[in-house]
Symmetry: D2
Subunit: 295 residues, 4 copies
């Protein structure tokens, strides 16, 4: 297939490379020329704008940092995707943004004759490199079916979450639960240790009991409990605290717009904000345990 | 073996009955005569005080509602266990209390010549009836080994958590994580639904992703997601909100005494307190989702 | 003076009437014809768009419900103020919006040759009727001096808060403090009462001690403590809970954009959200005490 | 009058000295001989126990660090006040403790034939030295009237708060409001500054608006805003963060016992706990602003 790919940063670059590896022909765009060059060196063609990148292709994939970027790349006057793309071309947005913007842009696309799915990912740069990302997809079933073979070149689990915007809903609601559970684990582990219990023994008990969660059994924040977790290598690698903060900001704002309380979600957002203010935004998000224990 | 059993309420009654079923000889005590009669009807002998209940037996098991009860039953002048029990008799306290009191009483027992383990349970009255409780045991290894065959008459998982008090630490830290994770799940489920997603679909995604936890995959608070969860039968049965509130009170007070922050733990304690004030203390603890959605 | 006035709702209507009363000539615009008619009945001239409303006048005052409204009324293509207003006309925005948007629009205005001040108010519809509003003004000193005589027709305290956007900063930061202090007072009053103390006696002590605040000494949320407070008339009148929720939403989003933690501000936002979900959004904001006591 | 005084620490010492200055005859007790010597050097007589200190006097004043101390000093076997004091001697406890213990001990005293008032103070060591403390007094009116002339030797405002324990209720509920309002002020000041506003200008606006409180207008936590506040001298002197933490611990535990939610009170307790963990427990409590801004 011929695919347009817009947004070639830390995530977009390896995703685009995986499409090339699977034999697809790529047309690419990014505002940073160096990022474009990395892909043209591998055989992709460069386009001069999102509009140009959307012509002569079967589908367009976008991977952008925030809602305003998505809005401008899709609906920007003269240079936006919708000002250039022929009707019928499938549009796939893998950015993590708020569901409201996602649904708005999908409606604009549909008005223009293009079906669109939102397909945010989880799995980080590691999953993007390895082609093992999870895609949470919102859109019509027929569009999901068309997007699936493309997404399978870049990921392992491709999950249909319902109509437009639901990929975003699934992503940010899951990540809100994740952040709260990570803090729950950090508080529980640090308290058990302070009260005199061996952290590994406590983790073993929680992990086979009603307190178990992914943050405790797979990604434990206490150093030394899990050999392969970021906690055991100084919180390097993994999913940065500031990226978690970004998702918490998205989800708490979506909750406000929906007039829905999320008391612990908002508290988690604040704790990650405080953690960031202390200079820890670049560490893996499990480093939030630093709020609860001295090193 | 000859066993003394003190505290014959909702939990103590079925636990004592399971000891009888396994062929042990029981001497029992409770301040409520009717509770005693239920056991003497089944062949247990009644004692006139905790002290009397601790004489002529190989071990004593206690199952009491709070720290002050434990302190007075063990160290009460003239009538307390320690004023009557011969040196060398093993003492097993299955009450859920604060670790500090637990360690204090264990030291008093040791000074008196008796080894003691704390062995709080999880599993509720259902597990007590079925003999499938989990026991989290704090104490010396040799004492854990002696207590184990007795506890196995009443439970399935008997876990050694380290020295005196660590059974309590494991219990309350696990339950703090559980409460926070339940609220995390309630907030995530209610928000996903409010943002237009099918609750079952969202639960399916979270449960195979980084947001998964026992509260989401085994005990989901959203009605209809899991057929056998209390949420699907009006939040009846299960583990009452006011019992969770009691454990959150224990754990936040233990954290204060240890000068340890537990921000989300304290927030969870407050949300359960508010839930209780609204009249929902008798419902299963997953009913906390009522704070986040109208029925 | 000739003044253009845009936005004639609950607040804008009495504000515009006060300008008329002081002898100014008014040109008015609103998207709702009925709201325009109320002013033309009193002698104002109707304009067909914000652009038209800004021609032939010495100054323009806007009173709009949210940031997107302000942006579109000022910068909307063809019909926005900046597409019609002659250079040199002073622009005064009395809407409560986020400081970022406020500064953006002020920069657009300046680029167009117009000085602009942000001048959000406190005092509610009562203060708007009586002409006793407080205006918190952000902008250059010279522009503040020009705006002052106009604002004095509508308010009593006209405070210069510094450069562009600082009126908004003052407004939303003050209201965040107010919301937290109101909840502090509600929690303190309800707890003192629950612990057996007469609410009036406790209020008397707090009000002469370090716990005193405007919410306790002027606007006490406990029924019967202050005869003239909304609490003593069923929480009618006053400043609605949903309006406070709107301000809390603004301030927490401004904090997020500034990467600044506001832990209690975010917690207050959530408590007002929960209060609103329970159906109390229309009651005065001191009704938040309903979360803490049964009626 | 002849007065027994028990507890001669940082607060008790200057309070006792003020009684001497007013011509009263003192009998004193403390477990630390050096503290006793400081008073006997000034003419007080030393007693060998609380019981002995309560004989041959007209009234007894106690100033102790916590509930367990109060319980043991009053009701301790053989050496406690109640084992020595003749019926009819007035008992005045100025310790800050939980209202429940306060009421319990008052009932024990009454059963023994002694009336008792709780009279916790505010004003710190500075107020104790200067004799300008505020006393919040719980007890019968007749007893309040008897205690008043004694308390007036040590303080300026002597406030009757109602029956036994209400002095404690007033003290801890006021201090809970104070802590929350201090954090509200810290968050508001730090955010206004981060959003580009001059802290002094913002404080000036808040202090004349609905956000005003004692923490903003008298004890502002932002350095340089008030010349005489601890914030302007490196947070030295004043009321230590760990003392505020102690009061927050008392009030949140009293709330739990009363089954009363105090969401922001509990959040404040956690923030002070975190502040203490970071090593700031010895600084004035307005230093909590350090959580919100880098130095």
């Amino acid at each position: 297939m011929k695919i347009g790919f817009i947004g070639l940063g830390h995530m977009g670059n390896p995703m685009a490379r995986n499409l090339l590896k699977h034999g697809h022909t790529l047309k690419v765009f990014d505002v940073v020329p160096d990022l474009v060059k990395k892909l043209t060196d591998l055989g992709a063609a460069a386009a001069s704008s999102p509009a140009a990148c959307s012509q002569g292709v079967d589908a367009v994939v976008t991977m952008l940092p925030s809602s305003p970027h998505v809005r401008s790349v899709y609906t920007g006057k003269d240079t936006g995707i919708l000002s250039g793309v022929p009707a019928g071309v499938l549009l796939i947005d893998s950015s993590t943004i708020d569901p409201h913007t996602s649904r708005d842009v999908a409606m604009d696309a549909r008005a223009h004759g293009n079906n669109m799915v939102d397909a945010p990912v989880s799995g980080g740069t590691g999953g993007a490199e390895a082609g093992t990302l999870t895609f949470m997809v919102g859109g019509e079933t027929a569009d999901f079916d068309k997007a699936k073979p493309i997404l399978q070149c870049m990921g392992k689990n491709i999950v249909h979450c319902g109509g437009a915007g639901n990929g975003q809903v699934a992503k940010i609601c899951n990540n809100m639960m994740l952040a709260i559970e990570m803090i729950a684990t950090a508080e529980g582990m640090a308290l058990a240790a302070k009260l005199g219990m061996d952290p590994k023994v406590f983790a073993g008990i929680a992990n086979t009991s009603s307190g178990r969660c992914w943050s405790s059994d797979t990604y434990n924040p206490y150093p030394g409990v899990l050999e392969n977790a970021p906690a055991s290598r100084g919180y390097t690698g993994g999913f940065g605290s500031d990226l978690m903060l970004k998702d918490l900001t998205l989800v708490t704002e979506a909750a406000k717009a929906a007039k829905q309380p999320v008391n612990l979600g908002a508290a988690a957002q604040q704790l990650y904000q405080m953690h960031s203010l202390m200079g820890n935004g670049g560490l893996d998000f499990s480093s939030i345990i630093k709020l609860y224990k001295k090193d």
